[in-house]
């Protein structure tokens, strides 16, 4: 209905309503109806306008709210996007900087993720590992490049089947360039899996190195005791069935400690390496040369027919080792002692053989070193006795079983005692007096000689302090004492404690001390002499080049060894030597002492030859400290030696 007809109709209704029962139109009523209709229309218009205005306002408000919300959400989204991007960046950085190659596959065996390291390991380019590429295609590519061995399809079937059972699939592959790659495939929920590829070449090498180090000596790269025992065990087991004979040679360098102490550890190490090389050259390929600690070596000599083959090898080794070494400008000569045990005679198991070879070595050393000994069944007892002595020696110093005896030296011109030599004695509570020749070498070997020497110095000074002022005391110094840095303070201390004047102390050294002719030793000797002490050369003439040593140090006294005196007065050569020595000493202003003068003729002879002093039974045996005091009493008349 159009607007016009609506209005017409409304107006018609209004006229009808305004019509009175008489049929006339009540104009007033009609007017009010028309006005009311206008008012209604106007009100409706206002309502509509208001409602629309409200709605617009509300919608606008809502829009603003929404815009704000959208703004907020957009900002949040952007922040999250940035965060995600950052996260992705970190993720990428993390996986691409892994030391392992990393791959992830979906349940269809298609690549999801692949990092850079994987490409590097197999030399693949990125297009070979795009997400979505099938594993089998990647494997075929690698097979073509030589980094995958086997059938890609078969491997894939095996892999998928194993992973489906929830198992990790691990394998180690070796690439043509010898790199070793460890591959671990780990199943994930949902049917995919993660694979890691790690280059373990270095680790493997390190493991091998560690395994080698565990069984080899780092210095010489010879097998160590562990590998020696293993090899020996293997040989013994294998040989037991065939009655095979083998020898275990146990070596120990003689006086190696001296090399280390005097020339330093680097020279000692060089010496050990050189010795290792020489030992290798002596042994057969089937033999095992091992370093089992310090200066100890061992050789397993296999497939021998008789012990004489072991003896031949031992001799070869002794000769080979003995040849001089030129190390950092030092010429070094060492000897070796060798103990030999033969299987199966001397033992059928590793421990027993090694123990017996060691015991044989002990025997060789006791025999004077530089030689070899076979194991003998009674060695055990001897070794035990030796061990017992070692323990007893240590105890003896603690409990005071040592004592000093003194042998007087007679000045031939003044006809009086000018000096007494302190001589060490061990009064064993059960065995009685034990001679120095038995215990001094042992004390040297076990390192007891230094504290023992100190005790001797202190005690000798104390004793001498009670003697007449013109009587000196002579104390022997061992090479070990001279090497020891504490000698000077020990001497000074001994003098100070006793109150003995330094000029009354004579220190006797042997050629062996001068053989270790180092700056330290010479400096010590000079220092001692500066302090007023007299330095004597003991046992002169027994060494190789005694005369030359006289040039190296200004000795105060030369003690001519008893071996020259014992030949007097008949042996011409002894006579010539004594004469030469006294002559030389006289021209060098040294006094001379003839040791071991036992007879009156000998006495007369050395007097004629020009010796200054004599020492020997002809005048006096060594006497205990208490006795020597009485012997030296000034009122005691000196026994005239006719």
């Amino acid at each position: 209905m159009n607007r016009r007809s609506i209005v017409d109709k409304l107006f018609a209704q209004q006229i009808a309503k305004a019509r009175t029962p008489s049929g006339e139109v009540d104009l007033e009523l009609l007017g009010s109806l028309v006005v009311a209709a206008y008012a209604e229309a106007e009100r409706d218009r206002r309502r509509n306008e208001h409602a629309i205005a409200m709605m617009v306002e509300e919608v606008d408000q809502l829009n603003r709210g929404l815009e704000k919300l959208v703004g907020q959400r957009t900002a949040e989204l952007k922040a999250r996007e940035a965060e995600l991007e950052e996260q992705n960046f970190r993720f990428d950085a993390a996986i691409n900087n892994m030391s392992q190659g990393l791959l992830m596959f979906d349940s269809e065996a298609r690549l999801v993720i692949c990092n850079r390291r994987y490409l590097e390991i197999y030399g693949l380019s990125p297009e070979h590992a795009c997400p979505g590429v099938a594993l089998v295609d990647m494997l075929k590519q690698r097979a073509a490049m030589g980094t995958f061995a086997g059938d890609p399809d078969e491997y894939l079937a095996f892999l998928v089947n194993s992973l489906a059972q929830g198992k990790n699939v691990t394998r180690v592959i070796e690439l043509p360039d010898a790199r070793i790659i460890s591959v671990v495939n780990h199943p994930m929920p949902g049917g995919g899996w993660v694979a890691t590829h790690e280059d373990i070449t270095e680790r493997r090498r390190a493991e091998q190195q560690i395994a080698h180090m565990a069984r080899h000596d780092a210095l010489t790269d010879l097998p160590n005791r562990v590998l020696l025992s293993e090899r020996l065990s293997e040989r013994l087991t294998a040989g037991a069935h065939h009655g095979e004979m083998l020898a275990v040679l146990y070596l120990d360098l003689d006086h190696f400690k001296g090399v280390n102490d005097t020339l330093g550890h680097s020279v000692g190490d060089e010496l050990l390496k050189a010795i290792a090389d020489r030992l290798r050259s002596c042994a057969n390929d089937t033999d095992t040369v091992a370093r089992i600690g310090g200066d100890e070596f061992a050789i397993i000599q296999t497939n021998i027919e008789s012990p004489s083959e072991a003896a031949m090898l031992a001799r070869l080794i002794c000769d080979t080792i003995k040849a001089p070494y030129n190390l950092h400008g030092h010429v070094v000569i060492v000897d070796t002692s060798i103990g030999i045990a033969i299987a199966p005679n001397d033992g059928v198991d590793v421990d027993e053989l090694l123990k017996n070879a060691d015991m044989a070595l002990y025997g060789a050393k006791a025999d004077g070193r530089g030689t070899y000994r076979f194991f003998e069944s009674d060695m055990d007892a001897r070794v035990k006795a030796r061990r017992t002595m070692e323990l007893a020696l240590r105890k003896a110093l603690e409990v005071g079983e040592f004592e000093l005896h003194y042998q007087p030296l007679l000045d031939l011109k003044q006809d009086r005692v000018t000096c007494c030599e302190a001589l060490l004695r061990w009064r064993h509570p059960e065995q009685g007096m034990i001679p120095p020749s038995e215990f001094i070498p042992v004390a040297e070997e076990i390192g007891l000689i230094v504290p023992l020497g100190e005790w001797v110095l202190r005690q000798a000074c104390l004793d001498a302090a009670g003697w007449p002022e013109d009587v000196h005391v002579a104390v022997n110094l061992s090479p070990s004492q001279l090497i020891n840095q504490s000698l000077l303070p020990v001497v000074i201390n001994a003098l100070a404690m006793s109150g003995l004047s330094a000029c009354r102390l004579e220190l006797e050294i042997t050629e062996a001390v001068l053989m270790q002719n180092t700056e330290t030793t010479m400096a010590t000797l000079h220092r001692l002499r500066e302090l007023g002490m007299r330095i004597s050369m003991d046992d002169f003439g027994t060494g190789y080049s005694s005369l030359s040593y006289l040039r190296s140090f200004p000795f105060d006294k030369i003690k001519i060894d008893r071996c020259f005196i014992s030949g007097l007065p008949d042996a011409d050569d002894s006579l010539a030597i004594v004469r030469a020595v006294t002559g030389l000493a006289g021209s060098l202003r040294m006094t001379t002492t003839a040791e071991g003068v036992e007879t009156q003729q000998q006495l007369e002879q050395v007097r004629l030859l020009g010796c200054t002093e004599i020492q020997g039974f002809v005048f006096s045996r060594p006497r205990p400290a208490a006795e020597i005091s009485a012997f030296l009493r000034p009122d005691r008349p000196i026994a005239r030696i006719a």
Partner: protein, 381 residues
């Protein structure tokens, strides 16, 4: 079926439009509260139709033919050839018993040959939605339940229903139609236009709406009404009905109208439930669209009668008071539009506080607001 229309007015008293068929089975009457409250009109009708069931209610205006009046009583007397009718009356003491009342009515009327129910209820003291749900719960959705809630003009003070008795507040009366001959057509349509944003019912108890989108409901209405119409509350709230929608059944929309306000808690009281969580939108009427809605309801009702009717047909139009407030003098537009769509010769009706009719889409009987609801009655040949 024979139908004869009659009406009453103050100066003229009852006027027969036709000679009444006797005996009359059912008289439906609609008048202002002022006209009905004294009970005299009921007694006059009873005297005229001693054997008929008399069912009527107070209104917000009556429809007779195409006329709309405020001071008359419109009535129709019906005589059925092959249809039995049964009337029940029920007093609702407490609004919370609305559903139970509906169930009682349903139980009283339900029968194998029940063909339909026309129900009139107090418009203020009964929760119409609960009442309808109660009846429908007993009789099922296949049997049409139509009618409306009594009105009280724009006053919203008291409504009356009379069912074989003088009209009283708090009453519900319902008449059941039985047998195969009766033909009942029904239609319901609004024609309102939703506008403005969709809002969520964030706080409500039953038919009391406290908040939309967290804002007090009355605030929203007042803002939209403007100062001029705020004075006319709660009547003027009818200008903006609310269309509500269950978000889980978005196609199922129901229009709710306001029957009261509470300035203390800033709430609005509706003629039916406004469930929390449902979506709501304000609606606004456009004169032409409202009339078109009425025409649509009439078309549906007329079609529902079928083509095998004989004798008279009557249409009972129940239109919302809100429509009348909005349309003013042009209210006749919608009545005419409806009448023009129907074959029935006899038309009457009233402006209500709620309309009852099956939902146009779901077919479920429901309380509607702000609609034109048409019930057409006739008998088969």
């Amino acid at each position: 079926m024979r139908a004869s229309q009659l009406h009453w007015s103050g100066p003229a008293g009852w006027m027969d439009e036709n000679s009444h068929p006797q005996p009359v089975d059912l008289v439906l009457y609609f008048g202002t509260r002022a006209a009905l409250a004294c009970g005299a009109r009921y007694r006059e009708l009873r005297a005229m139709f001693p054997r008929a069931h008399l069912l009527g209610c107070s209104t917000g205006g009556q429809i007779r033919g195409t006329d709309v009046s405020d001071d008359e009583i419109a009535a129709v007397a019906l005589q059925f050839d092959a249809t039995r009718v049964k009337l029940v009356a029920h007093a609702v003491a407490d609004i919370g018993r609305s559903r139970a009342c509906g169930e009682d009515i349903g139980r009283s009327l339900v029968a194998d040959d029940l063909a339909g129910i026309f129900i009139l209820s107090d418009g203020l003291k009964v929760n119409g939605a609960q009442l309808v749900a109660g009846v429908a719960g007993i009789i099922g959705d296949d049997i049409p339940l139509t009618g409306g809630l009594a009105g009280d003009g724009a006053a919203f003070a008291e409504t009356l229903v009379g069912a074989d008795g003088a009209p009283q507040p708090g009453m519900v009366g319902a008449v059941g139609f039985y047998g195969k001959a009766i033909r009942i057509g029904h239609g319901s349509a609004g024609g309102w236009d939703p506008f403005g944003p969709r809002r969520r019912v964030t706080h409500a108890h039953g038919n009391i709406l406290l908040a939309l989108d967290g804002q007090p409901a009355l605030d929203l209405y007042e803002r939209y009404l403007g100062e001029e119409d705020i004075k006319g509350l709660p009547g003027t709230a009818l200008l903006f009905p609310l269309i509500i929608q269950d978000p889980e059944r978005p196609e199922h929309e129901v229009v709710r109208t306001i029957v009261g306000i509470n300035r203390d808690d800033r709430s609005l009281i509706f003629a039916g439930d406004v469930p929390e969580g449902w979506m709501a939108r304000l609606m606004r009427g456009n004169f032409d669209n409202l009339a078109a809605g009425a025409a649509e309801a009439a078309r549906q009702a007329d079609a529902g009668l079928g083509n095998d009717i004989a004798g008279d047909a009557v249409s009972v139009m129940v239109s919302c008071i809100g429509r009348r407030l909005l349309l003013g003098q042009r209210i006749t537009d919608e009545v005419e539009a409806a009448v023009n769509e129907m074959r029935a010769m006899t038309h009457l009706g009233f402006f209500s506080y709620g309309e009852i009719s099956p939902h146009a889409v779901s077919g479920c009987c429901e309380l509607h607001n702000q609609t034109m609801t048409v019930t057409a009655l006739s008998e088969a040949a």
